[in-house]
């Protein structure tokens, strides 16, 4: 384990029981780590489990198994079991700017909650601290008295970021923070997030399905499918040399705007089929029913993570040592 891992997730599993004897394996053995000051990107489509990973890390769910180490200390468990300091150290920004802020409370009230709880700001100092937070994220302090619906989606997300920063966090989990925003607003929010990261030394776990965005914000990328990480690599290697068939399928499907980017995409793999429900995980490798390179062993044995280079891991039989899945 690297000494400056601020967040290290090992063997994380989260299963939900939905009905009689039916288990939804949302997260099925995930290992991740985020170093100080870096942005780890987590990519996946719906049903991949990426949001569940985020919610489990932040404490919304109790993990079924696994550890979540924050600066070395295991905090795995629902938020109610964590100390206040731990709650403040890991913060999350949600995907939907419409429902992440209480529509019936002003921005000052929404920001006041973490300020009062975590930094014990008195009522007298509150307006000043709220104004400071707003300025930090690039919003005018006059927004304190406004309601969320009177400001735009991008600005609401910035308020959500400000709220997350109010507790002086170490790690911020950003769950698709700009997916609901237009491109020009997204650009503003991302720029602000990058600025804050460098100024405050924050570490980000950045979740999105937009690979083009990921290319520009993350230093390492992990891609998830049906509850497991199927590939993990530094960003440049991930995009230049995608190994896993799912990664290649995804990359070949994204719409891009220039011919130069088109060149970069892997040869078009016509995606067929859809991601199965995590209630019904196919035997063996979860991707095998849709995989253009599937071999007989793929539908029988679930591959383990294989390290193909210093920093590149992939979970696929194609890269396993000959004679079966690698250790």
């Amino acid at each position: 384990m690297k000494m400056d891992d601020v967040l290290k997730v090992t063997g994380l599993k989260k299963y939900f029981t939905v009905g009689k004897n039916v288990i939804l394996r949302a997260v099925d053995g995930v290992d991740l780590s985020v170093c100080r000051g870096e942005t780890l990107g987590l990519v996946g489509e719906s049903g991949s489990g990426k949001s569940t990973v985020a919610y489990t890390i932040v404490g919304m769910y109790q993990p079924t198994a696994g550890t979540i180490a924050l600066n070395g200390k295991n905090v795995a468990g629902a938020a109610v079991r964590r100390t206040l300091a731990q709650k403040g150290a890991i913060q999350i920004v949600f995907q939907d700017p419409g429902s992440s802020l209480n529509p019936r409370r002003t921005i000052a009230q929404s920001l006041g909650l973490p300020l009062r709880l975590h930094r014990r700001v008195s009522a007298r100092d509150l307006p000043e601290k709220v104004a400071e937070l707003l300025t930090l994220v690039g919003l005018p302090p006059e927004y304190s008295d406004r309601n969320p619906h009177s400001i735009g989606g991008g600005e609401r997300q910035l308020v959500a970021v400000a709220r997350a920063l109010a507790t002086d966090p170490i790690v911020m989990i950003l769950d698709e923070p700009t997916s609901a925003l237009d491109v020009s607003i997204q650009a503003k929010v991302i720029a602000r997030l990058a600025d804050l990261q460098s100024r405050l030394g924050l570490s980000y776990l950045f979740i999105t399905h937009d690979l083009s965005l990921m290319r520009n914000v993350a230093s390492r990328v992990a891609i998830m499918y049906l509850g497991k990480v199927s590939e993990l690599a530094p960003t440049a290697a991930f995009f230049r040399d995608p190994l896993h068939p799912y990664t290649r399928m995804l990359l070949s499907a994204i719409p891009v705007v220039t011919a130069a980017e088109e060149e970069l995409k892997p040869r078009k793999i016509l995606s067929k089929g859809e991601i199965p429900s995590p209630v019904n995980v196919p035997p063996g490798c979860g991707f095998s029913p849709r995989c253009p390179e599937a071999t007989p062993v793929c539908s029988k044995v679930d591959p383990a993570m294989v390290q193909t280079s210093d920093t590149h891991w992939v979970r696929c039989h194609v890269y396993g040592a000959t004679g079966g899945p690698a250790g």
């Binding site: 489509e45 719906s46 735009g152 989606g153 237009d182 491109v183 020009s184 607003i185 997204q186 650009a187 503003k188 991302i190 720029a191 399905h209 937009d210 690979l211 083009s212 965005l213 290319r215 520009n216 914000v217 960003t235 440049a236 995009f239 399928m249 995804l250 499907a253 994204i254 719409p255 891009v256 705007v257 220039t258 130069a260 980017e261 970069l264 995409k265 016509l270 995606s271 859809e274 991601i275």
Partner: protein, 327 residues
């Protein structure tokens, strides 16, 4: 100017909405033209009026909308001045619309078969009685055309039993049961995963080619426009600011807004992207007198704020509404 094959034409459409304290002048001169079998993109950010334009064409604007001026010509007939019967006929046989959220667009208490038959029955009603068997056969055929396997089984299922991608296909099938000339697609892939969106867009492209179907594709994603359309209109704050062959507009965006928008798009090549466009959308209650983009435009001249620029020919079917290009 265009080939005589024009199926749908919108000329200088102006739409306002009655609100407290006056009116919001949402659309202020929308011009577009679609030829038979042509795929045209209408791209713009949230709040620019693209959905309002589509709804105006279909005649499904809410009650507080007021059409202040302009024409909507379908095969030469102005729908805004036509009789209700003619407008009904247009909706039954002329054009169909598919929406962003397929779940919300399908009535959950009807089976897929019921939903498809209703549309088909209305479309063929005036052509004499059609028997049920024929209707069902045609609906099953349509399901096959949209690549849904096992149509007979699907006809008996309810929308909630289908995945998002399949629901969107059902919506497209519903639009295709009767022969139509125009398909209005409002962000059809936005709520779907990237790989599924890719499938849906390829489906629409295929249908357009085989059935000579004109498509107006509304989206905020420039990547999607580049992949699917042959001609694109860029919209800002209720005005068409640029129009041209897709490849041409992407290679040489003439309008400052288009250029700025392109700069904000994250690139797969990883070269970073701009920090957004300064400023905000204008207040529709009190829109700027001249060009609506001028308050945010880095190159605006004095004339820009005084009089609205009209769409000028910039050569090769490329049009732009900007004084900077008029010189």
């Amino acid at each position: 100017m265009m080939a005589t094959d024009t199926v749908l034409e919108v000329n200088d459409l102006q739409v306002s909405f009655r609100v407290y304290g006056g009116k919001t002048r949402v659309l202020d001169g929308v011009n577009l033209r679609v030829a038979k079998g042509q795929r045209v993109g209408l791209v713009g950010e949230a709040g620019c009026g693209k959905t309002t334009t589509l709804k105006a064409i279909m005649g499904i604007l809410p009650s507080q909308a007021v059409i202040e001026g302009g024409q909507i010509l379908f095969r030469g007939q102005d729908l805004l001045k036509a009789s209700p019967a003619a407008v009904q006929s247009f909706r039954q046989r002329g054009a169909a619309m598919i929406f962003q959220d397929p779940t919300a667009a399908l009535n959950p208490v009807f089976t897929v078969g019921d939903l498809l038959q209703v549309g088909l029955r209305y479309a063929t009603e005036s052509r004499g009685k059609t028997d049920k068997a024929h209707l069902i056969k045609r609906c099953a055929e349509t399901l096959t055309e949209v690549s849904l396997p096992d149509p007979d089984r699907i006809m008996k299922t309810y929308p909630f039993q289908l995945s998002g991608g399949m629901r969107q296909r059902v919506c497209i099938a519903a639009a295709m049961t009767a022969t139509r000339e125009v398909l209005l697609a409002d962000e059809p892939g936005t709520s779907l995963d990237v790989t599924i969106q890719d499938q849906i867009l390829r489906l629409i492209t295929g249908l357009s080619e085989t059935k000579d179907l004109a498509v107006v594709l509304v989206t905020h994603s420039l990547g999607v426009v580049r992949e699917v359309t042959e001609y694109v209109y860029v919209m800002y704050a209720g005005v068409i600011v640029e129009g041209g062959p897709t490849a041409e507009v992407f290679a040489r965006p003439l309008h400052p807004y288009t250029a700025a928008l392109m700069e904000c798009i994250p690139r797969l090549t990883g070269q970073g992207f701009a920090e957004g466009i300064p400023g905000r959308l204008p207040d529709y209650r009190n829109p700027p007198r001249g060009c609506r983009f001028s308050p945010r435009c880095p190159q605006s001249l004095k004339t820009c704020g005084e009089a609205k620029p009209s769409l000028l020919d910039a050569g090769g079917r490329h049009m732009v509404a900007c004084y900077l290009r008029a010189r």
